[in-house]
Point group: C2
Chain length 724, copies 2
């Protein structure tokens, strides 16, 4: 809505300058269909040592036959150009035009323009460009128009037809079909070359992603290229995870670009006698997102961590938010959920969030959890909750609500007699990659996510004007929350226990449910403190070794105000990877491991991904809990800034929103704020009442003050930090 | 199963001759997927005056990612060739082979061969050919294999994965991809040419179907071809239903075949000055089915009716059973249901029945009735009921049962507070093309079809070993049947009334529910006779004017033994069309209309289809009620022959079954039978006990005798018909 306002504003402005102004058209499709189509394309690019390696869950398809229409009232006749992906017809006021018209004339007055498109292999899509008649997200679309006629020629009642507004992205070139979408590429070159075997290993200096290009390839024989995120991997022809085998038969020199993208830092180039090449380079492929969020501080190691995290995250931000660039490149919901959060503090790219959510969910019927993983179904709901909170985009929630309902119906249908979820055939209870992590019985972590998902359903039902179900979901969430504490809370251990087996709570305490309980705000203040001491800061509770769950562990500690502790942890953990030479952050990092042990996973010596989105969480933590910016009302209409140096001398950075950035600078006696959006509440701990020009300072508790931040104003706040 | 037995037998025989014998492989796919894919192709061929004219219901897609596997035990190593439609991997015992292998070696012993295929535009399909390892319907397949591995490399539990046996047809050439399937064509030539305008009208002598071919086309300018099932239509450039416009720009003569098939008898060829052609011919496109059923009698007009009906039916038997060849060419369920029945008495082509049933049903979720028509959902169930009765193919019922369940769940969800179905937004209550036919309230006809569908569900649930639901459906069917008689039976009118409006039965009596009640055997014998007199033979009840409903009307009368009456009706009605020059039977025929009125429908002067599958019902009536052959136990394991001359001097014919034909000859004192299948009960009305060699004659009632017919024996039965 906000963006729309801007566009309208822009067009009014333009109108005053250019008397003949054409509206901007976009390619449009049935909502979610391009997303599903594109995710099929992307997720089917995975190979493992040259073998095609697709996903193991159901892949859906776009609707193959889609009707688009809109009513227009125009003052003057208009020539309208038509571009279509698929076989189509065009109707004006229900009257079909013969053939496949490329240009039509629409007379002045009120008219309905309809296109119906069939396309099996690619998404049915249209691009309509007139002076005022243009295709955009206001068009209505359906996959069953139910437009029959009876024997007298009378047209059917269509009251049972569900029309929804069209989906679109930023495809404004009529000559590029949506199915031809490709990310941009740019040339990159190796920084070092080292002899190995009969060939050499090219080092591109850091983790990268794209298509290897062989320059001046010639001769007859076999050529192998072995990719490595580590040099060890590239050198291991037998065990590297990705490779390319080519049969070369070229009389003259020719440049050759590999058809499939790869993730690597090193390429081991090995050609048979008779095959030669001048050199190799690569086409770096990237998502053209803007790095809007930023963070810089007095700590150089932390700055390096932030930069590498942002690079890691950018590499994993592609057509969708993917897990890691070397292996899967799939839209894993648990991984993507963290990417959404990191995205709100870096690119703030809403379309990639929406695309990923739509791709994960696919179409009805629901036949399994998302990615087959129970927890991943829940993260999907949470992703929508957060999306609305950060963007305020109500239309998307309304669009996706029916698919939320059917997934929740599937989940509700799998409750056991206690009203809880436990493993059923076909379920994957993931939680985390961790040894000896029990998945038996009713795991508390899953119930906690379930409760949060029901809360999300209640919120979204309200947004979708489904009052009846809003009440129902709210009731269910409340009752499940109560049940969780009744069944899992162990007063002696001051913790939620891990599970119930045979209707009895176990004595096992893990970090998972407890840390989520913190930032879900499910605990009482007393419980929070007890959990912090007895679980989060308790070394006897099994350690977390994935950046994935460290994300939440550190978030929970930040939510409890432990920024200083978390800063040390970040420097230890992410700094630890940097010390081992990481140029991007890993899928898993256990400081106790040594040397090549770090590369191993899934029983394979180079199975681990060394560039994993979930490794980039410092982006999120630093933005949300150090710069301290987070929305209160959807879309940052109101928000909080609670900056926390966590022991740093100073820090500065930007947090992006849909309507502009929020800039924060802080040192030990000064805070500077500038915001492009909404109304913020700055909360500062200070021994004395802070001083700020042009704004009142409110005391809210002992040593805690609040300043209201209006947009487009510079604030300088002098304060005196309390003793640590 | 029967066919399988034959193939095995054949291979044993062949083995004894050829020591190295390769099993026969087929292309296989996820069951139903080729059918859905192909029906999308076919149903999107419709044009109306040059405009693309697709269906108005949801079109589904094949699964785009499918896993196929089978375990084999082989005594010697085997070389296996692999052909795939799509991107794929090959695994032996779970181990992937690099690249896209075309030939693999499988060692002796027990091994699992798996292929996983991705294809968006066409159906994922495989063809595997070794000596003993071949792809066929015994392979297992799934669209979600849930085959994940944990961080240690351990493979997931797959107990939640649903594997089903593969679908296939007769695609045994590895070099022809399933998506390239096309019906065969053969050249046909016009029999007459007549000047018209600046061009001419070519007459192909009778209704036909295919691709017009222009010989020696040359010049620059526009060319129009106007197709007509009637000469009037072809001559009406402005109103004919189908046409082709070409922009010709050919310096030298070239032959040109139109890309889209058309139905016509006449082609009006009109070229601008400067465009010339030597001649036109056509490529007649046809389904290569065998005309196994036959009928011949002492009545030449009836024989002509039978022949034209069979030609009409053959023209409408294509990739699927379609409604009519000129206009829709869609898989309408109500039309197809009659085609199934005609097919059992003519081609006995089971694959086309299965394909059509699968295509109509598509995929879940169900969002509307089949073809959006309430009655058409029910005919779909009835089609499965009959398919099983005629073929005994239990596997197909088991395969399709889940899709039956989800459709029935959809229907059950639309019952009103009385437990009955009435119009809801989006529903089309069709019943028949008839003026002033009320669709208001709770229409008895729909409830009757609903009850029959529930009975079908009960039967199929049993076949699919779903005992719980079998009981449930049986109970529901019984209760609905009771309710129908309670609410709609009008004792005074001796009929089921047409509907209830506002909870009150109307006084309106129509033929529909009453005639179905007869051959569903829902009436008591007394009710049957009453209905016959007060409804079926009552001229005051609105007449039926479509061959569609005449099918059931005449069937009901035949079921009541009125073959003589029906014979006269057939000769009047179908003979009436022949007298008007029909070379195929029509969508609608009202003898009261005159001249070009016969061509009009849907408010368009040539809207009517003059070659409609439902026009071919004499095929069915003559086979089932005159030759009198019908199955009792599924697949003709037991069956009845109750021949009835209906006033003919003699008749002879064949009724096909899965295992061979049943031949019947009858005149006024002799019946000859030969059967290739099961055990039949011949029932003959005779004044005296019939005489038959080699079989006992049992008296079952006054003037009614029964002879048991064993297979592969010739029976000659002498009898003496009772006085009419």
């Amino acid at each position: 809505m906000r963006n729309l306002k801007k566009i309208i504003l822009l067009s009014i402005l333009s109108c005053s300058i250019l008397p003949v102004f054409a509206q901007r058209a976009s390619w449009i499709w049935y909502p979610g269909d391009f997303d599903i189509y594109m995710s099929n394309v992307m997720q089917n690019r995975r190979t493992e040592r040259g073998s095609f390696f697709p996903v193991f869950w159901k892949m859906d398809s776009h609707y193959v036959l889609v009707d688009f229409h809109k009513e227009f009232t125009i003052n003057a006749p208009e020539e309208v150009k038509i571009f279509v992906q698929g076989t189509y017809n065009v109707k004006i006021d229900g009257q079909a035009i013969a053939g496949f018209p490329k240009t039509i004339q629409i007379p002045a007055g009120k008219h309905k323009l309809s296109l119906k498109v069939y396309s099996q292999g690619a998404v049915p899509a249209i691009f309509v460009q007139g002076k005022t008649i243009v295709s955009d997200e206001t068009w209505l679309t359906t996959f069953e128009d139910k437009e029959w006629i009876d024997q007298s020629g009378k047209v059917s009642d269509k009251s049972g037809t569900t029309f929804v507004t069209a989906g679109s992205w930023n495809f404004t070139d009529p000559n590029v079909l949506p199915s031809n979408f490709k990310l941009p590429v740019t040339a990159q070159y190796a920084v070092k070359k080292e002899k190995a075997g009969n060939g050499y290993v090219a080092d591109f200096g850091k983790e990268t992603f794209g298509f290897v290009k062989i320059h001046g390839l010639k001769g007859k024989g076999k050529l192998g290229m072995y990719y490595g995120e580590s040099k060890e991997e590239a050198l291991s022809k037998e065990k590297c995870e990705t490779l390319d085998y080519l049969d070369v038969d070229l009389a003259a020199k020719r440049d050759s670009v590999m058809p499939l993208s790869k993730a690597f830092r090193y390429v081991n180039f090995q050609a048979e006698n008779g095959v030669t090449a001048d050199s190799i380079s690569m086409l770096y492929e990237y998502a053209p997102v803007t790095e809007r969020g930023s963070f810089k501080s007095s700590d150089q190691e932390l700055n390096k961590i932030y930069d590498v995290a942002k690079y890691t995250f950018h590499l994993n931000t592609r057509e969708f938010f993917i897990d890691g660039i070397k292996r899967d490149r799939w839209v894993w919901s648990g991984d993507a959920y963290q990417s959404y959060l990191m995205n709100y503090y870096s690119f703030f790219d809403a379309p990639t969030v929406k695309r990923t959510l739509l791709a994960q969910r696919g179409k009805d019927p629901v036949t399994a959890h998302i990615n087959t993983i129970m927890d991943y179904s829940f993260y999907w709901f949470l992703g929508i909750y957060d999306y609305y909170k950060f963007t305020g985009d109500k239309k998307f929630v309304q669009d996706i609500y029916p698919r939320m309902q059917s997934l929740m119906t599937y989940i509700d249908g799998r409750k056991n007699k206690n009203g809880l979820l436990e493993w059923m055939p076909g379920d994957w209870i993931f939680i985390d990659w961790a040894d000896k992590l029990s998945k038996d019985g009713e795991v508390s972590f899953e119930q906690l996510l379930y409760a949060r998902s029901l809360e999300t359903m209640a919120l979204c039902a309200k947004l979708a004007n489904d009052t009846t179900n809003a009440v129902k979901y709210e009731k269910e969430a409340k009752s499940l929350k109560a049940k969780i504490f009744e069944l899992y809370w162990n007063e002696t251990k001051s913790a939620l226990v891990h599970s119930r087996v045979g209707n009895q709570p176990t004595a096992n305490v893990t970090r998972y449910a407890n840390m989520f309980g913190i930032f879900f705000d499910y605990f009482t203040p007393e419980q929070k403190l007890a959990v912090k001491e007895h679980v989060l800061l308790n070394d006897k509770i099994a350690k977390i070794t994935t950046p994935y769950m460290r994300f939440y562990e550190l978030e929970a500690l930040c939510a409890l105000g432990e920024q200083s502790y978390v800063l040390k942890e970040m420097k230890n953990y992410w700094g630890g990877m940097l010390k081992l030479g990481a140029t991007s952050f890993w899928e898993e990092y256990n400081p106790d491991k040594k040397g090549v042990e770090h590369l191993e996973m899934y029983g394979r010596p180079f199975g681990k991904s060394l560039c994993h989105a979930w490794g980039a969480s410092p982006i999120y933590l630093l933005g949300k809990y150090y710069l301290g910016v987070s929305p209160d009302a959807p879309g940052y209409e109101t928000y909080t800034i609670q900056p926390n140096l966590g022991g740093l001398e100073w820090m500065e950075g930007k947090v992006p929103t849909a309507d502009g950035d929020i800039s924060v600078y802080m040192n030990k006696n000064e805070i500077k704020i500038n915001s492009a959006v909404g109304t913020g509440q700055l909360r500062i701990k200070s021994r004395t009442k802070p001083v700020v020009k042009g704004a009142a300072v409110k005391s809210v508790a002992k040593d805690l003050y609040q300043v209201t931040i209006r947009k487009h104003k510079n604030y300088i706040i002098k304060y005196s930090p309390p003793a640590p």
